[in-house]
């Protein structure tokens, strides 16, 4: 059950133009930076990217925007990127904004084999336009929910802290974020990690994503792990 591949290039060998990708991470935290670099190098185009954010101008998904590889972004917040804004305003880039919890839960639904979920997020707003709504009793009060569909994606690309050779994944701190749900939701799931250990080296009680969900694992060549908002206090 060896899921290890040698490199990012090998991991993405069958990602072709017009693929739909999920990319883990929140801001620049826990993003699959080595896979993004390989996608930029490969130059695949017309990508639909499902990712909470779109990176910054010179890091994360921003790098794929600069090279015009992205056709459509499905995100909850895309704020920190001037090139993104330019492409959006010029109509080169299509953007679908959805609530963050809806994004997370539509990934979960996919990984858990649930075709649709109900959420109250967006009820009464433009997010609800064209969507089926339904009322349910919650704590004795009628409440309205939107039906949102599970995501379909060709590839999920996630960043974990450690993996074993079976593809079991462990995440670190808030770099976990969307990665576990996306890992469950890809038709093919690619995980880049900081360290690969032998099967049996991870405590089976501590695994966040079981290897059954993961198809390919590789060790990232290097991690910049850029900080977006460095906030500190004096000692």
């Amino acid at each position: 059950m060896n899921k290890v591949v040698a490199s990012a290039e090998e991991a993405i060998k069958d990602i072709n133009d017009n693929a739909t990708l999920m990319l883990g991470g929140f801001g620049l935290c826990g993003i699959p930076e080595n896979t993004i670099a390989a996608l930029v190098k490969k130059g695949v185009k017309g990508l639909t990217c499902i990712s909470n954010n779109a990176g910054v101008d010179d890091f994360g998904i921003g790098l794929m925007l600069k090279t015009r590889q992205v056709k459509k972004m499905i995100s909850s917040y895309v704020g920190e990127n001037a090139e993104f804004e330019r492409q959006l305003l010029s109509g080169e880039l299509e953007v679908e904004l959805i609530p963050q919890g809806t994004l997370a839960t539509r990934c979960l639904a996919s990984g858990y084999g649930m075709p649709a979920i109900f959420t109250p997020a967006g009820v009464g707003t433009e997010v609800a336009e064209g969507k089926e709504t339904r009322k349910f009793m919650v704590d004795g009060v009628e409440k309205e929910f939107l039906m949102e569909m599970a995501f379909d994606s060709d590839f999920a690309i996630v960043k974990a802290w450690k993996a074993d050779t079976h593809g079991n994944l462990v995440f670190r701190e808030t770099a976990r974020n969307f990665n576990p749900m996306m890992a469950m939701a890809g038709k093919i799931t690619i995980a880049e990690v900081e360290e690969i250990v032998e099967a049996g080296q991870l405590d089976p009680d501590h695994i966040h994503t079981p290897g059954i969900y993961v198809h390919r694992v590789f060790k990232g060549e290097k991690y910049e792990k850029r900080i977006e908002q460095r906030t500190v206090r004096k000692k």
């Binding site: 929140f26 990665n179 000692k235």
Partner: protein, 218 residues
């Protein structure tokens, strides 16, 4: 009139012992600094953390440890990390006792608009729509009027909505107000602010009953 710190301090007084609290970006983030010492409060960050602590000391920033505003943070003892699905799961199932966030406009029925200005670049709603749709108690920190001195406490929001009938309380530079079935109910005046000034700054239905005390903030 309250400054941002004043608004944060006043909101901090709404937090009760044992609360789990989600703080939005901006003024709400400042509220953390004014939670009384010794009070047991756990801060939830919707990117996957319960038990958020203060900013790290210089040189101790950890790129894997950020809050929903993407700022480097720390954890406190008893913290827990989880994924975004569970994070919004606990938000939707109303386990978070109090949500504090900013707003561009609030209507007197509790509608809130805080994510989109038509004609301007739209950055996205992030987790705001999930939070306002689910939270059992929402306090909004906002300016009472805009730069043109127009009220942002309205009969009806003019901007695209983030959520409907959800805001419970509002703290502005001028006042503290509850959102009731009859409209904004004035609870407290900011230091030096008269009822008349608040009336003039409020476009939505405003209920003024009896003497309105001046708020106390140290």
């Amino acid at each position: 009139m309250l400054d941002k710190i004043g608004i944060a301090k006043r909101i901090a007084r709404e937090i009760k012992d044992g609360y789990y609290v989600n703080l939005g970006i901006g003024i709400p983030t400042l509220v953390a600094n004014y939670i009384p010492q010794g009070m047991n409060v756990v801060l939830q960050s919707e990117n996957g953390l319960l038990g958020m602590g203060p900013f790290p000391f210089e040189g101790e920033e950890d790129p894997d440890l950020i809050n929903a505003g993407k700022q480097t943070i720390t954890t406190v003892p008893g913290s827990a990390f989880f994924d975004s699905a569970m994070s919004f799961g606990m938000i939707r199932s109303r386990k978070v006792d109090l949500t504090i966030l900013g707003a561009m406009e609030v209507a007197d029925n509790g509608d809130i608009a805080n994510w989109k200005i038509p004609g301007k670049m739209v950055k996205g709603m992030g987790g705001a729509m999930d939070l306002v749709a689910s939270a059992k108690n929402i306090i909004v920190a906002m300016q009472h009027v805009n730069k043109a001195n127009e009220s942002k406490l309205l009969t009806k929001c003019t901007l695209p909505l983030t959520g409907v009938k959800c805001v419970k309380k509002i703290v502005t530079e001028l006042a503290v107000l509850d959102v009731t079935a009859q409209g904004f109910k004035l609870l407290e005046r900011a230091p030096g602010i008269s009822v008349e000034q608040i009336k003039n700054a409020t476009e939505g239905r405003l209920i003024i009953e009896g003497d309105i005390p001046e708020m106390k903030i140290e």
